[in-house]
Symmetry: C2
Subunit: 198 residues, 2 copies
């Protein structure tokens, strides 16, 4: 008795999702085929389409379907301020505070030497080039206030200051150990106003 090959392939493919082991993958595959074929078809199309269309903004590195994302293309934004965040979700949180009208650079992660994540993985060379465009007057580091986020901020700060750039860090209004995505907008707004030179 053999599992149909397309079902075996689906079970194998589901294991590529983070945190899904072999038992869960099989359970999900059976569930989708039995109870939610519409959802399975929708997710199949969504994945295929996302892989085709989504890439990184040439300027800020966030996810976009265009060459340049909407934020970077917005002529109203202050091109002298560049805010560095770890993830697109962090950028969303800062936008919600309405305290920042500059541009962003999204690292898509943070330094983590133990996991083998180094400067190249957070696109440091592209950040240096971006921050050195002549228009940027201040780089605001808004990485998380976790150990990795602080270490990342420190590393970027040293690198950019060595190139003569003004670098600031969100004030420690954000609780130490806190992740931006889980902090209320008021706290982030305060931290933005209190940002200090590093």
């Amino acid at each position: 008795m053999k599992t149909p090959s397309s079902l075996a392939y689906l079970t194998e493919a589901l294991r590529r999702l983070p945190g899904i082991g072999p038992k869960s993958a099989q359970r999900i595959a059976y569930h989708m085929m039995q109870h939610d074929r519409e959802g399975a078809g929708m997710l199949g199309r969504a994945l295929t389409q996302a892989v085709e269309r989504i890439h990184h903004c040439a300027l800020c590195n966030t996810f976009t379907e265009s060459e340049i994302c909407e934020t970077c293309a917005d002529e109203e934004r202050d091109r002298s301020l560049l805010c560095v965040v770890e993830t697109p979700g962090d950028q969303v949180m800062i936008e919600q505070t309405l305290t920042f009208k500059g541009l962003y650079f999204v690292l898509m992660g943070h330094l983590s030497p133990l996991d083998g994540i180094g400067p190249k993985d957070i696109h440091l060379e592209r950040l240096i080039a971006r921050a050195s465009d002549g228009a940027v007057k201040e780089v605001i580091l808004a990485t998380n206030f976790t150990n990795e986020g602080e270490a990342t901020a420190h590393y970027i700060s040293e690198t950019l200051k060595a190139r003569g750039l003004k670098v600031t860090r969100l004030a420690r209004g954000v609780p130490v150990g806190g992740e931006l995505e889980h902090v209320d907008a008021g706290t982030i707004a305060r931290a933005m106003l209190d940002r200090r030179a590093t």
Copy 2:
């Protein structure tokens, strides 16, 4: 600032997976786009292909890519024995024991009135037709020994016996290798009642 629509659509589609909430869906979408596009593409193709190709065996109701599954099409199997299981995984377990050479019917679930799962959802009409083909001499109920599995076995048993079919149930008892001290009293009581001559 807007999330690219194909990324928003992917996040929404991921919520169709069992047990995935909005936060997890966004985390997974970002992860796949950032770190595993190959896996995302593979999963997209696997889902699309599975929805196209997988359906239920016309005889036993298990998942198959053919009209009749490999097991049902196997001429060597004993067509007088029909074993009823809840899931394809249960069928695999029984196959591994090498103690059964008959055919199967896969309910794809169990009765659960509180969840609105009734006889129609476990394809009882099809099971009745299947068991009444004239070749089947004995229906062996191998649903789980949980409350739902036992209730399902009872319901099927009454239904099939009313049509004059011979219906049996897997024996209950102390697991092989089980120590009485560590087996629950209900199991021991059942094993005592079902004791057999040696």
